[in-house]
């Protein structure tokens, strides 16, 4: 900073001291995954990849391979995103443009659902899933997660559609395009920033979801990384904290990468609009 009318270093110093604990925690999270430290000491004594052995070693009997779980998590997050985004763009468009009955009721309902503490529904969802045979399956969790994220998605997409000028659609119709072509080729590209932001948002939300998989698909082949991680410390007689940290870092890496790549799109989510 070259501004001469105030010195910025005291401010930086204060901020640095305040954020130090956080930084130290993050640093040790990474350091501990590749080192061994004697109890009571802060200085790591040797480098090792032992804590990352879950990546290449055969899982113990009764445990699932981390790669299966990662694939599950990926499928879970991707499918949730696809279902959620496709329902949100169509529903959002309908609420924004179509002259449908009970529109105000729907809009009010969506806002209410968005504010609703979904965790209170978990017992009834559990019973329903068990009744229709989707308990302890990935499909069940995907459907539930996609549905619970819908109110937010619809609301955000409606906001983006509201900002698309009517004239673009009228011009499209006049140019001879069908309603669907107009929506697909003319309107949807205008809300593309919204679609991108919502996709990333829902993907990350599903990736980090813990309660739903834990309750609705707790064991076996439907496990995801969050439940795998929790099983790791709950199940073992002798918990391996360094391995727990390694799995944690492994679990968080995609999130960090996605944030780094898409942070511009994520900023968009509360902006909306068609900035050409």
């Amino acid at each position: 900073m070259t501004s001469s009318n105030f010195r910025s270093w005291p401010l930086f110093l204060v901020l640095a001291v305040i954020s130090m604990p956080l930084v130290i925690m993050y640093v040790y999270l990474f350091v501990d995954t590749v080192t061994d430290t004697t109890a009571g000491s802060l200085i790591p004594d040797r480098f090792t990849l032992h804590h990352w052995r879950f990546l290449w070693e055969e899982p113990e009997t009764g445990r699932v391979s981390i790669w299966t779980v990662t694939l599950n998590t990926f499928i879970f997050a991707t499918c949730t995103t696809l279902i959620n985004v496709s329902a949100s763009v169509t529903a959002g468009y309908a609420l924004s443009r179509l002259n449908m009955p009970f529109k105000r009721f729907f809009l009010g309902g969506i806002l209410t659902l968005h504010a609703f503490p979904t965790i209170t529904l978990i017992i009834s969802i559990f019973l329903i899933l068990q009744m229709i045979g989707l308990y302890n399956t990935l499909i069940g969790v995907i459907l539930v997660k996609a549905a619970l994220e819908l109110p937010l998605g619809i609301w955000i997409m409606k906001g983006f559609f509201d900002n698309v000028p009517w004239e673009i659609e009228m011009a499209g119709l006049q140019d001879g395009a069908s309603r669907f072509t107009v929506w697909w080729k003319l309107v949807l590209p205008q809300v593309q920033p919204g679609v991108a932001a919502l996709s990333v948002f829902v993907f990350l939300s599903a990736w980090s979801e813990f309660i739903l998989p834990q309750v609705l698909a707790p064991s076996g082949s439907a496990q995801v990384l969050s439940t795998y991680l929790s099983n790791l410390i709950f199940d073992d007689m002798k918990p391996d904290f360094n391995m727990f940290k390694s799995v944690g870092v492994f679990y968080a890496l995609p999130v960090i990468v996605i944030y780094l790549i898409f942070n511009k799109q994520l900023m968009n989510i509360y902006g909306g609009g068609t900035k050409g």
Partner: protein, 352 residues
């Protein structure tokens, strides 16, 4: 292609915007729908292109009844007020969109886009995005897109409203040139009488959902059917004098001055209210029918000067004179009205 609107009625909810309107537009003609905001001119335009459904009435293109035909199948090109270009496509893709929708071959699309781009002078802008264009250029693109599939009818909704004054002048003649070059039937919606008069063959002046007068610009200017029409056309606007019929003449309100009525006019009964409309060019120092007053406002317009003259009864007449006439604010003058060019209106506002 000839357009005829028969007994058109349109309402939104409980408000009837247009009631029982009929209008015929000739083949190759450019017609202006002119009127103040909220008079129903845009509603009429959107009914012609099919965006609004008609509540009652019939719409014919040539001999075909298109009342129930969807927008897509009407073959009407529209230029919207804000141009409605597709922001995610470049100029070429924008213009080509109507052809792509009809799945024409790539070579055919390319040939037609080049041709139309040449006509509207945007050949060198084809790779740009709409956001990178000036208002006038966007307008040209919108025109090109509306014209590319050779529509039967071109509709223009306030096409010049978003342009600055200089561009407006340029695009006014450009749109007319393109319309004449293509020979297309065109309808222009505007609230600016200068646009309507300078660009169109005929003007339909609308007020409160009705067509008040339908005639050529010159005819509408010289013989308006009512004081509303007379007041809407002309810049600077016409000045009105209120008064009553007295002794077969026109007695100014709150005054003893009586003016003779223009020849060939049927004067309403004694004491009936009447209005005189005097255009600024017919109130000049040289005319014989003198009215005394005081210069109350002077506006220099460059080539001409505009004067407001307040008469002794408080009414105001306007006069436009070539420059250097040298009259001062507050000066007592006695200028004359050209008697035969006075427009006389009856109690209901209609021309006598």
């Amino acid at each position: 292609m000839r357009i005829s609107i028969e007994n058109f009625t349109k309402s939104f909810g409980d408000t009837t915007v247009i009631e029982d309107m009929s209008l015929e537009i000739g083949d190759g003609e450019m017609l202006a729908l002119l009127g103040p905001s909220g008079c129903g001119k845009s509603t009429t335009l959107f009914a012609i292109c099919g965006i609004h459904r008609m509540n009652a009435g019939r719409l014919m293109f040539g001999d075909a009844d298109v009342t129930e035909v969807s927008s897509q199948k009407r073959n009407v090109g529209v230029v919207f007020q804000n141009y409605a270009l597709y922001p995610h496509m470049n100029v070429y893709e924008n213009i080509a969109f109507p052809l792509k929708v009809r799945k024409e071959s790539k070579a055919e699309v390319d040939r037609k886009v080049q041709e139309i781009a040449g006509l509207v002078h945007i050949g060198e802008l084809l790779q740009r995005r709409p956001m990178q264009l000036s208002g006038g250029q966007q307008q040209r693109v919108a025109l090109a897109r509306a014209l590319i599939r050779k529509p039967d009818i071109l509709l223009l909704d306030e096409p010049l409203a978003n342009l600055d004054a200089k561009l407006r002048l340029e695009m006014r003649s450009e749109i007319r040139r393109i319309q004449l070059a293509t020979g297309i039937t065109a309808v222009l919606v505007t609230h600016d009488q200068v646009e309507a008069m300078s660009m169109c063959d005929r003007i339909a002046l609308m007020d409160k959902g009705q067509i008040v007068q339908l005639s050529t610009p010159k005819d509408m200017y010289e013989s308006p059917s009512s004081d509303f029409v007379a007041g809407f056309l002309g810049n600077p606007p016409i000045a009105f004098l209120d008064g009553t019929v007295a002794d077969g003449g026109f007695r100014l309100a709150n005054s003893q001055v009586t003016l003779p009525v223009p020849s060939g006019i049927e004067v309403p009964g004694e004491g009936a209210p009447m209005r005189f409309g005097v255009r600024p060019e017919f109130f000049q120092p040289g005319n014989p029918l003198k009215v005394p007053g005081k210069v109350s406002f002077v506006e220099t317009q460059g080539r001409e000067e505009l004067y407001d003259v307040t008469l002794e009864n408080g009414a105001v007449l306007r006069s436009i004179q070539s420059q250097n006439a040298g009259f001062k604010l507050g000066q007592e003058v006695s200028w004359g009205i050209e008697q035969d060019r006075v427009l006389a209106f009856g109690p209901d506002g209609n021309r006598l």
